[in-house]
């Protein structure tokens, strides 16, 4: 019997499969396709203190084995989440993690503080890496100091598990991860999207209203696995890997590279049951290889 139970420090997951913020709505969008309670957990879309309209259309371009997006954190704000969404998902028997984003340090902290009283929200994921907002977002994620200051501010007001999501658009992701860890992160998730761009050469204009956007999907997986491997060898807190995971084999790559858990992102757009397929695939792999617990292979590279 395979036991997929996964511990991220204080946070217990029934299996290592989470969903990436911004690819799974509030979970409810996928309830027709899967039983949400089968997941290790799901991370709801980037939530900010104030509502945000996001960037203008067009926001999406498909690229080879990937996609660019420029959503720009469209969301109805943390109050909407607390009042309208939380009651619908609070009682699910799975971890519901809120992705917290912002443009200013105070906004991150205020947002986290508002979430702190919510029973059942055992973790937030701090998005210091969104490439699609002009201020904040990725700016905090590209220097150790910037990262540290946001994490410290949120650490003061958020009492439970604090996951920090890093940008890959840096020279040394390990330095940023160490800064997040020293500032009190309980886990590190990576990678957010790579900054990219595409042009419609027939129309001679950018594919995105914002010109540049975030690249995700299978195309980025090799970069993501590399960064997860580098970071997990250098921090003590658990690492959550994401970037192009579509199959159980993809998920296992991240786990062997050192990830304690993984997030499924773009694949949710292609196959709404991707998460459950991956959970089943990991179980099947473990049975075939006589693995009782993922600790046997985690970080084996």
């Amino acid at each position: 019997m395979v036991d997929l139970t996964t511990r991220l420090g204080s946070l217990e997951l029934k299996n290592p499969v989470l969903t990436a913020s911004g690819t799974f709505g509030y979970g409810l969008e996928y309830a027709d396709f899967i039983n949400l309670e089968q997941l290790g957990g799901f991370i709801v879309k980037g939530t900010t203190l104030e509502p945000r309209q996001g960037n203008p259309y067009p926001r999406m371009a498909e690229t080879p084995a990937g996609m660019l997006n420029a959503v720009g954190l469209q969301n109805k704000g943390v109050h909407h989440f607390i009042e309208q969404i939380y009651p619908q998902i609070a009682n699910l028997n799975t971890q519901v993690i809120v992705n917290v984003s912002g443009a200013k340090i105070e906004d991150y902290a205020a947002c986290a503080e508002l979430l702190a009283p919510l029973a059942g929200i055992e973790a937030i994921e701090l998005n210091v890496s969104c490439p699609n907002v002009k201020q904040g977002g990725m700016a905090f994620g590209t220097t150790p100091d910037g990262c540290q200051s946001v994490v410290e501010a949120v650490r003061k007001v958020w009492p439970r598990h604090l996951m920090v999501k890093l940008s890959p658009n840096v020279t040394s992701v390990v330095d940023i991860a160490l800064a997040a860890e020293s500032a009190g992160a309980d886990s590190i998730s990576l990678i957010n999207t790579l900054l990219g761009m595409a042009i419609d050469v027939e129309k001679r204009r950018p594919m995105l209203s914002t010109v540049t956007g975030g690249l995700s999907g299978p195309a980025v997986k090799p970069v993501a696995v590399r960064m997860v491997w580098q970071v997990s060898k250098n921090v003590k807190v658990p690492v959550v890997g994401l970037g192009g995971i579509c199959t159980a084999a993809d998920a296992l790559e991240f786990i062997m590279a050192g990830a304690s858990a993984i997030q499924v992102g773009t694949a949710n757009f292609v196959n709404p049951a991707a998460t459950v397929d991956i959970i089943n695939g990991i179980t099947e792999y473990c049975e075939r290889h006589g693995i009782k617990n993922l600790d046997e292979i985690r970080g084996c590279i």
């Binding site: 996001g54 926001r59 999406m60 997006n69 949710n268």
Partner: protein, 264 residues
């Protein structure tokens, strides 16, 4: 938001469908007829809703949204303009091959009308596709409906015959090779305004000019949009339309919008 006639949400499903027929029509449009590979009934779908198709042969990452040309208890028909990489690859699917389809998706056209209502369906190019299923549905409900179909050139009899069998069809062509020579907006039936509800699907430019027209004449209308989308489920937030209620997802709040919601 101006609500569309209320639509009970239909459960979304991933379906394993099999190609029953796949034919390239003389106009260049592709007519694809799918059946449930498991022999089960096709789930109920509403006119104006759409489906997402995984076009494996196209070597693309994302599924592609196509409107529903027709749907019965055992078949789903699509009418596709093979212009992009995925839709071109759709031509390669032959009878018996499988396609993974997510359906039904989105909010369709209003279908509840009074006997005194007169509905005009206006389609341009491949935008005619969802209007057949809508016309059929309205006729089955006894609604008074006519159709204006704009096409660059003489449209496929295979398409027009189906419409003619259920409702008066008015054809416009850019080149005058059939019907009225001119744009759907200029067609006498459109201009006469002897209808109190228009339902429209077609190229952006055509829809914008019709939007102006119905607004000026105070005719209630619905428009079916086709913004680029990644998921079709309301998760990716890529297909947004800037409506009176702000940015909303075309895939879930639409693809059909009341004209008053649109900020064109």
């Amino acid at each position: 938001m101006v609500p569309l006639n209320e639509q009970k949400p239909v459960k979304k499903q991933q379906l394993d469908l099999r190609v029953r027929s796949n034919e390239l029509l003389p106009s260049g449009l592709l007519h694809l007829c799918l059946e449930n590979a498991l022999g089960a009934e096709m789930p109920a779908m509403l006119p104006g809703q759409f489906v997402e198709v995984a076009v494996d042969k196209a070597n693309v990452l994302l599924n592609r949204p196509y409107s529903i040309y027709n749907c019965t208890s055992d078949s789903l028909e699509l009418l596709v303009a093979p212009l992009g990489r995925a839709s071109i690859a759709l031509q390669k699917y032959i009878k018996g091959e499988h396609l993974r389809v997510i359906a039904p998706l989105g909010h369709g056209f209003s279908t509840e009308f009074n006997t005194t209502d007169k509905v005009l369906l206006i389609g341009g190019g491949v935008g005619i596709a969802p209007l057949y299923y809508q016309a059929r549905t309205l006729r089955e409900k006894g609604v008074n409906v006519e159709v204006v179909y704009g096409s660059r050139t003489n449209p496929d009899a295979r398409i027009t015959d189906r419409f003619k069998a259920i409702a008066p069809l008015h054809i416009c062509t850019d080149d005058g090779s059939a019907g009225f020579k001119g744009l759907v907006t200029q067609h006498p039936v459109t201009q006469a305004c002897e209808y109190n509800f228009a339902q429209v699907c077609g190229p952006q430019k055509m829809m914008e000019s019709l939007h102006k027209f119905v607004s000026a004449h105070n005719i209630n209308a619905e428009f079916s949009l086709e913004n680029k989308m990644a998921c079709g489920l309301g998760a990716c937030l890529c297909c947004v339309e800037n409506t009176t209620a702000g940015n909303v997802c075309v895939c879930t709040s639409g693809p059909v919008f009341n004209y008053k919601e649109l900020t064109w």
